[in-house]
């Protein structure tokens, strides 16, 4: 644990050793207590969507050498919170994520519209499935949904 420094040395003193000992114990207690943090904070849960080119299999490219960043979205934790994200390959495919604290809805809008849904429990348990095929307007993609971000 790097959060807890060693207690500072207490300079020697010849007077009032009992008081000094009590102060040392109190100081150590405060240092130890100050190093702990609330154990029960909200978990950070991320979901990523990566597009795989179906022509050459190059992850993150559209076959013309253009790189597409993965979508990486964090789940909100409050009731009523909502987080959306969007990745667009102009004229070909739009990926849209819509997350609340319990559900992620991922919509692919290309030659057709496909929507997939995951629960936050599924994402926390770990999702790393095979790519599923998405038809863009110009070319086909494989889309992979993963827990966490690359």
């Amino acid at each position: 644990m790097t959060c807890c420094p060693s207690p500072p040395p207490i300079p020697p003193s010849k007077s009032r050793p009992r008081v000094r000992g009590a102060l040392r114990a109190a100081g150590l207690s405060v240092l130890l207590a100050a190093c702990s943090t609330s154990p029960g904070g909200p978990p950070a849960t991320y979901l990523s969507v990566t597009l795989v080119n179906r022509v050459d299999g190059t992850d993150g490219t559209d076959g013309t050498g253009t790189a597409h960043p993965s979508l990486c979205t964090q789940f909100p934790v409050l009731v009523g919170s909502r987080v959306t994200d969007r990745l667009e390959i102009p004229g070909d495919l739009i990926v849209h994520t819509d997350l609340d604290r319990s559900t992620a809805q991922i919509t692919f809008v290309g030659a057709e519209t496909i929507t997939v849904t995951y629960s936050v429990e599924q994402i926390r348990a770990g999702v790393s499935g095979d790519p599923f095929e998405i038809a863009g307007r110009r070319q086909d993609y494989g889309a992979t949904v993963r827990s966490g971000c690359p």
Binding site: S38, P39, G41, V79, G80, S81, V83, T84
Partner: protein, 191 residues
Amino acid sequence: MFPAGRASGAPGDHLATRYSWQVPLTVDLGYKPIPQLYLGAYFGFSLGAEGNQAQVESWCVDDDNDLENDITCSSHTLRAGLAVQYHLAPGAHWNPWVGYGIGVEAASQSISDRPRGRSESTTSRGVTFAALSAGADLRHVLGFGPYGQVAIGRFNSTRTEINDVERFDGSIDDRALHYWLELGLRMVLRP
């Protein structure tokens, strides 16, 4: 004031799961064209804690005894609008009255996890269709008396920020009615 009803039509999205009871402070400004009738505007701010969603409540409890509030949760509501009151006995020692208000409101909730460096806040905005109120003023130099109010509203849009970055700002698809139940004391200048 106490939350009731639904914040939206989404499963589990009750007003009380988002917001706790809140302490309101409201200012009314207006005039009386006749002794029985008050016309004015109101502006209110109320402050409270997180709602009663069990998981959020457990996150917000700071139980590590480190003398620091590592995870801060709060909620607050802003309300503003127009109000009309009818005073039943404007010249009497006790003056009962009833009122109606209409306006807008914005309710916010937030959680800040300091050790992990993460904050999240969501503000929902909407309309207060009817703030139905009643009370009685004890008239001296100042007026003073109890009142109660039921404010019926509906959220139309919401905005979520994570680490102070906007992640969503848009309309609520599945809207629902909510209610704020308010009890308190009020002071009146020139009653």
